[in-house]
């Protein structure tokens, strides 16, 4: 594998320009700027006009993600997002950065023109950037599941778990989540914690999720989950939990915290404090965005009903859990874990296939969603307290 060396020591498996809008009012201009080269320029952004520490941290992490080589910041001008700080953080990382303020640049057309010129220069420069050797142990890989059904927890999720075990054994950092979809698994999960203090933190994170969702009145459970044979949140959780594999759990992180070393990490995605801004992650891409903010180079996405999404910045590897869905949506799926149900492949074989695909993707091979141009992105309001002292490995 080869990667692009960044000044903080991390390496990227892609080298894209991000075009980052700081309020929905600047979204159209950002999209038009990136439209000239959608493979080279990816749009990310935050839609809100009110300030939010979490969104600021996420955007800073994403604009300095190892897969990002340069950042164009697009501001309307009057929003509350701290564009000065974002620009400084990107500049301090050694990346080329430019901020365009639409209200100071003559409006829509002139900002699009200026933005396109700058992005084209950066893409040309990044194409000439040298690569360096990269080891599996330098990878961070996330996993999510979406559009789950009764097959997810017996094929795709445990196969992803086997791939995770192989990655962790090779020294990589692997991140699983969503604490709202681990309700009912807190006991068995805590038994895998590296220390008793971490076990208590893992239990507390799931208890927080259970309280949060109880207040909202809905679990992290969509109607399609029930069509696919899942009945309760704890049943969905047990299936989702299989993605974590068998490795000991090294740490608990929150979105934007970067794993300090290899191992398996749980990401606590449920906000701290009172329920304030609504559902923690309003759709699957919100989870992928948080994985990326914690440095994930790529994300394994297990789906039973058949999600078609990809992501800006980082490749998404889509694992079909259900063989009938795979037959319908083959063009969107990278792996057919449904073969396990049909008896034509073992969990181990599919786990190895996923592991191999992570390495191929990290070496530059496009995933299905990348080739189809999927670059979904969503970021909404949240509030977090910092993680506790026993959450990270020493």
């Amino acid at each position: 594998m080869k990667g692009w060396q960044r000044s903080d020591g991390r390496k990227g498996i892609r080298n894209v320009v991000v075009v980052a809008y700081l309020v929905e009012c600047a979204h159209h201009v950002a999209r038009e700027i990136a439209a000239v080269d959608r493979e080279g320029a990816h749009v990310i952004g935050f839609p809100g006009c009110y300030p939010n520490e979490y969104a600021q941290k996420m955007m800073e992490r994403l604009c300095t993600h190892p897969n990002v080589g340069a950042a164009l910041i697009v501001s309307l001008g009057c929003e509350s997002f701290n564009r000065f700080q974002l620009d400084q953080v990107v500049a301090a990382s050694g990346r080329p950065v430019k901020t365009l303020v639409i209200q100071n640049t003559g409006g829509t057309r002139s900002t699009i023109g200026a933005g396109r010129d700058w992005v084209a220069e950066q893409i040309a420069a990044l194409a000439r950037a040298p690569t360096v050797p990269m080891a599996v142990s330098e990878l961070i890989v996330g996993t999510v599941c979406g559009g789950s059904d009764g097959t997810s927890g017996i094929t795709g999720n445990p196969a992803a778990g086997i791939a995770f075990d192989k990655l962790v054994a090779a020294g990589a950092a692997c991140i699983f989540e969503e604490t709202g979809e681990l309700i009912g698994c807190e006991g068995i999960m805590a038994d895998r914690a590296a220390t008793p203090e971490l076990a208590a933190e893992l239990r507390a994170s799931v208890a927080k999720a259970a309280r949060y969702y109880a207040t909202l009145g809905y679990g992290s459970f969509a109607s399609g989950n029930a069509d696919g044979g899942l009945t309760t949140i704890e049943e969905k959780s047990l299936g989702a939990y299989m993605k974590s594999g068998q490795s000991p759990i090294s740490g608990l992180i929150k979105p934007g915290d970067i794993p300090p070393k290899g191992g398996l990490y749980l990401m606590d995605v449920v906000p701290d404090g009172e329920v304030r801004f609504g559902f923690p992650n309003i759709s699957d891409n919100a989870e992928i965005v948080e994985m990326m903010a914690s440095g994930a180079h790529c994300t394994l996405f297990v789906t039973g009903r058949g999600s078609v999404v990809g992501s800006a910045i980082s490749p998404v590897i889509k694992i079909a859990a259900n063989p009938h869905m795979y037959a319908r949506l083959t063009e969107d799926m990278d792996v057919n874990a449904g073969r396990i149900l049909e008896g034509s492949a073992s969990l181990e074989q599919v786990g190895q296939e996923i592991f191999d695909l992570v390495l191929a993707s990290a070496s530059g091979q496009q995933t299905k969603s990348e080739a189809l141009g999927h670059q979904e992105f969503i970021l909404t309001y949240k509030t977090f307290e910092p993680i506790g002292p026993s959450c990270l490995p020493v």
């Binding site: 059904d149 009764g150 097959t151 997810s152 927890g153 017996i154 309700i183 009912g184 698994c185 068995i188 259970a210 969702y213 109880a214 009145g217 809905y218 679990g219 459970f221 969509a222 109607s223 029930a226 069509d227 696919g228 044979g229 899942l230 009945t231 309760t232 949140i233 704890e234 049943e235 047990l238 299936g239 039973g304 259900n322 063989p323 009938h324 149900l341």
Partner: protein
């Protein structure tokens, strides 16, 4: 005891089987020696009771509880929203078919 090969047992103590393939309406399905059939189509991933569970009793899958029976469940029953509820948050499902 005869069990249809489409029924998958995930963990030895489970009270339910998981369907590894679909079942058509009216088809005879063997569940540990009991012959049953269903009025509706059951898609893969759905659950069929292996053991009886009284009302209020826990339904076990993956060797872990996945909720409680809202009515008595007999071996061979389809186990889903009509007879199983969460111990945590209620399940939301759309009514009707497109």
């Amino acid at each position: 005891m005869l069990t249809d090969p489409r029924l998958l047992l995930l963990s030895p103590g489970d009270t339910v089987f998981v369907l590894r393939d679909q079942i058509e309406p009216g088809e005879t399905v063997w569940v540990e020696g009991i012959a049953v059939s269903f009025a509706e189509h059951l898609g893969l991933g759905h659950k069929i009771a292996r053991l009886a569970v009284p009302q209020g009793g826990q339904v076990i899958k993956y060797g872990a509880p996945i909720g409680r029976a809202t009515q008595a469940i007999a071996a061979g029953d389809h186990v889903h929203l009509h007879n199983l509820r969460s111990d945590y948050t209620p399940t939301y499902a759309l009514e009707g078919k497109a």
